[in-house]
Symmetry: C2
């Protein structure tokens, strides 16, 4: 039987002693001059970032939103990633989908089959049946938005819902549902580094689910607090994402070295919290 | 000053005496043999459906999920739609997005600028700041998911949130926020035809917002009940969507006539509820 996403992720994390996920969000206007600033250079830039970080990263996370504006070049760059990322490192497509089941099945065909992504982020708003076509891919994984990193995420996510004998925030209701949806062991959660107290609360509800933690870097989440709150009892169970902080560490000809230095520093800081510095 | 989306939509609705939105969700396997069954025929098929329905439809709604599996051909077919749909009929991209603001701005660049879509559907889960880059396009519109048409939509959307002096479902909380977000008059809501009582409840909260109503046809929503519940005090204010019921009305060489007949019938049934049969 083939390995699950979570097993492959854990193997990549152990092999590299890293919980760092590198985001690949191309913005050709910010590419170094030596790379060029047209959509046709996206694949070359991604390759350079992958080459500079592949022994430091346990996952790569392209965000769909940064590929679509570039039309054919963007789509082809996404489809190219599986060939350019080492085969033992999983790919997580940040596309935040959520639609009726027939449409979700079409997205699964694009993301999991045509583009060979290993995992995708999803909105929980439409409920279980909207996600089932993705969850049925047992070798792939689905990361459900629980508490997102943006400043206004509390508007709905922090609203309190009545429950037996009390009330709890919407983000905790989503967390409980995500656990129920995990019958194939292929569900994770998205919890923002900007809300470490919420990471701790959600970890208490879902000790077994992997967390994708975005929001360090430009979003100014507290890396150490987020890692400490998110680690599972094994010292694993989290994917700490950095995108722009790595990719755009330098716009000069030294951009690969600069990206590598930021990634190495983040990996070390994460491991320090784990007592592995 | 140029017209808003809602003004352009209303003009198209009056000109054609139609509240029918035609969904364009290509599935080449279901295309008629005379069209062909490869991704390269998507644009030809879309053109044929548009040609057959353009005097009966007030809006066309492509769903992103049915284009992405076809790679370059899919993306190019999306970008082609603005040229192929009559210029006075708005295009609503059903992409159900919702991400942090920098990413949402990238989606806006793709959808509103590169592909010339006039409007897009969004998830409310991440709150106002996640949608602001779209809302800032005053000539475009944003349709916020409130109560979706799928069978399991109640899991979160029907949960009751405590409010001053009582409680109300999440979908109503979203509706109230959508009204607040409507400072530029460019917000609408998505409410499924499968829940006519909810359409009525949401119309009572938001008398002024346009509703996109999916879920008739294969999803078996009650067309007449949904229209009656959704109409605004003017007899407008709704977009009733049908996709598969029109596009795949026939797989024979008569598919354009069959699509037209279904569209004409839906338009008539909608108008009958409006007292305009």
């Amino acid at each position: 039987m083939s390995l699950t996403f979570h097993e492959r992720l854990r193997a990549a994390q152990e092999r590299r002693q890293s919980l760092l996920c590198v985001g690949l969000d191309p913005d050709p206007a910010r590419f170094p001059e030596v790379v060029g600033n047209t959509p046709d250079t996206i694949t070359a830039f991604n390759r350079a970032i992958i080459e500079a970080t592949q022994d430091l990263a346990c996952c790569y996370k392209p965000n769909l939103g940064f590929y679509l504006p570039h039309g054919r070049a963007g789509i082809e760059a996404l489809a190219q990633l599986r060939d350019d990322v080492p085969s033992d490192i999983p790919l997580l497509l940040d596309a935040k989908i959520g639609d009726i089941s027939t449409t979700t099945a079409a997205y699964a065909q694009a993301y999991f089959e045509a583009w060979h992504m290993d995992s995708v982020t999803v909105h929980p708003y439409m409920g279980h049946d909207s996600l089932k076509p993705l969850l049925d891919y047992r070798g792939h994984a689905v990361f459900v938005l629980a508490k997102t990193s943006n400043p206004g995420s509390g508007l709905l996510q922090d609203r309190r819902v009545a429950d037996e004998g009390g009330s709890e925030p919407v983000s905790h209701v989503v967390t409980r549902h995500a656990r129920e949806w995990n019958t194939h062991g292929n569900v994770g959660l998205v919890v923002g580094a900007t809300y470490p107290h919420e990471i701790a609360a959600i970890r208490a509800i879902a000790p077994e689910l992997p967390f994708l933690i975005p929001g360090i870097g430009p979003q100014a989440g507290d890396l150490e607090a987020a890692v400490a709150a998110g680690l599972d009892s094994d010292g694993y169970g989290i994917l700490v994402n950095a995108s722009r902080a790595i990719s755009y560490a330098s716009a000069g000809p030294d951009y690969q070295d600069a990206a590598r230095a930021v990634a190495a520093d983040l990996r070390t800081r994460i491991n320090a919290v784990r007592g592995m510095a």
